[in-house]
C-alpha cells in the first residue's frame, strides 16, 4: 500500500465508523451472547465427557501410547510424514513448522495489496483454503494413524511353526511396550528418536539386544524391570527382535 492508498483507506474507514453504532451496548450485547454460548459449550463438554485420569506416569515401562491432545495431531502428522517419506526428509531438517510460523507472522508484510474482499484476492483465498484443508486432513489422518501398540507384520514364510509362535508372542510384547513410539519396525512405528529395528536381528546378536534392553542409552527406557518380573515376556521380546533379519 502506498501513501495515497493508506490515506484513502483511513478516510473511507472513518466514514464507515461514523455511520456505525456505539460499541456499548450494541457490540457488547453480541459479545455477551457469544460469551454465554462459549461458557455454555465448555460446561456442556465438561458434563458430557468429564476428565479422565490414566494410570500413573511410570518412566520405567513404556506400555502407553504417546498421544498428544487432538489439536497437536496435525503437527505430529507433519513430522511423521516428513520423517517417514524419503521425499520430504530434507524438509524436516530445516524445520517446516518453523517456516510456516514465520510466514504466518510476516503475512501483513508480504501481502501488501490494499484489496480486502476475499473474492478479489485469489492467491489469499487459495492459500487460506489450502491451509484449512491441509490442517483438517493432517488432523484427521493423525487421529487415525495405526495405534503404536500393535505391530502389523507377518512372520516370513521360511519360519518353522516354533519360530512363528515366538515371533507372534514377541510382536505382542513389542506392541505393549510402546517400542513403536520411537522405533520403526517394517511399516510400523515412528522413525525416531530411536533407530529403526526392521533389520536389528542381522546387526546385533540376541545377547547384545538383551543387554541393550537392560541398559539402554537414554532417552530409551530400561526394560530391566520387565526382565525381572516377566522373564518369559522379556525372552519373547528378545527372540522377536533377533528374528528381524
Amino acid at each position: 500500500m502506498n501513501q495515497a492508498e493508506k490515506e484513502a483507506y483511513l478516510r473511507e474507514y472513518s466514514i464507515l465508523k461514523n455511520e456505525g453504532k456505539p460499541f456499548f451496548p450494541y457490540a457488547v450485547a453480541k459479545d455477551a451472547v457469544m460469551a454465554a454460548i462459549t461458557i455454555g459449550v465448555i460446561i456442556y463438554l465438561a458434563l458430557m465427557f468429564g476428565a479422565e485420569l490414566g494410570p500413573k506416569a511410570d518412566p520405567t515401562t513404556t506400555t502407553y501410547v504417546p498421544r498428544p491432545d487432538w489439536y497437536f495431531f496435525f503437527l505430529f502428522e507433519v513430522l511423521r510424514v516428513m520423517k517417514n517419506v524419503p521425499m520430504f526428509t530434507p524438509m524436516a531438517t530445516i524445520g517446516v513448522p518453523t517456516i510456516c510460523m514465520i510466514l504466518l507472522f510476516l503475512l501483513p508484510f508480504y501481502d501488501r495489496s490494499p484489496e480486502r474482499r476475499i473474492e478479489r484476492r485469489p492467491i489469499a483465498l487459495a492459500a487460506g483454503l489450502a491451509t484449512i484443508f491441509a490442517i483438517a486432513f493432517l488432523t484427521y489422518s493423525g487421529a487415525n494413524t495405526g495405534s503404536p501398540n500393535s505391530v502389523d507384520m507377518k512372520p516370513p514364510s521360511s519360519f518353522t511353526a516354533e519360530q512363528v509362535a515366538t515371533f507372534n508372542a514377541g510382536k505382542l510384547v513389542v506392541g505393549q511396550s510402546g517400542c513403536l513410539a520411537c522405533h520403526t519396525i517394517g511399516d510400523n512405528g515412528n522413525n525416531g528418536p530411536g533407530p529403526p529395528l526392521t533389520h536389528i536381528g542381522s546387526i546385533r546378536s540376541a545377547a547384545a539386544i538383551a543387554s541393550t534392553l537392560r541398559n539402554p542409552t537414554p532417552p530409551m527406557p530400561s526394560f530391566k524391570g520387565l526382565a525381572q518380573q516377566y522373564p518369559q515376556k522379556f525372552q519373547n521380546l528378545v527372540n522377536f527382535l533377533s528374528e528381524l533379519q
Binding site: 465508523k17 455511520e19 461458557i39 463438554l45 490414566g54 500413573k56 511410570d58 531438517t93 503475512l107
Partner: protein, 266 residues
Amino acid sequence: MPRLPAPPLPKILQPKPKRPGEERNGAGPVSPVEAGITVVDWIDERTSLSPALRWLLFRKVPRGINWFYTLGSATMFAFLSQAVTGVFLAMYYRPDASGGAYESVRYITDDAFLGQFVRAMHKWGASVMIILIFLHMARVFFFGAYKYPRELTWIIGVTLLILTLAMGFTGYLLPFDQRSYWATIVGVNINAGGPLIGPYLADFLRAGPEFGATTLSRFYAIHMLLIPGAIVALIGAHLYLVTKLGISAPPWLKVNAEPESDQSEV
C-alpha cells in the same frame, strides 16, 4: 418609622457586616452542595478513568458488524474461564514428580467437591479456546483485517496463538499420568529437533538434558505463571490496538455516495 440609633456596643458584640455574595435576607451562607459523592465519582476524581472508559465503550464500530466479529472476544472469555478454573485447580495441585502430582490430580478428580467438573471444564475449555482462536484468525484472514493499519495487531495475535498452543503443550504434562508423560517426552524431543534454538528450548523445558524431577515444576511454572502473564499482557496490547485503530469494517461495505448529508450531520 424612624429607627433609633443603635447603642454604642463594643466592637466584638456588634453584628458582623455581611460578606459579599452572602444572601441578603439574613439566612446563613449557602453551603456549596457537595457533588454526588459516590464510589464511582470518588475513584474517578483520583484516577480520571472515565475518559478512558468512554473511549473504550462509546467508540463507534462500523456498520455491518456481524457475528463473525464476536470470535475474538469469545476466545478471550474462554481464556478467562481457563484462568478461573485454573486458579481452583492450582489450589489442590502439587507439582511433585515423585507421585504427589498424580495423587493430587486423582484427589481433584475423585474426591474434591466439583473437582472433576472444574478439571473437565479446564480440559475442554482448552479445546474450545483453540478452536475459537483458529476461527478468529480465519475471520481476520478472509476479511483482510490484518492489512494496514492493523499489522501489529496481527503479529500480537499470532504470538497469542503460539502461546495458547504452548499452554496446551505444557498443561498436558501436569496430570502426570502415562499418556501425558510419554506425549510430553515425545513433544520435547520434537522441539529438540527444531532449527537453531530447538535444542536450547528443549533443554530449557526439561530443566537439563534429561527428563528429571524438576521438569514437572518447570512445566507448572511456565503453564501457570509465565505464559498466562504474557497472554494477559498481549491481550491488553491487542485490545488497545483494536480500540485505537477501530474494528475493521466488513470488506464488502462501501461508503454511501451522499457526502452532503454526512457533512451536515457533522
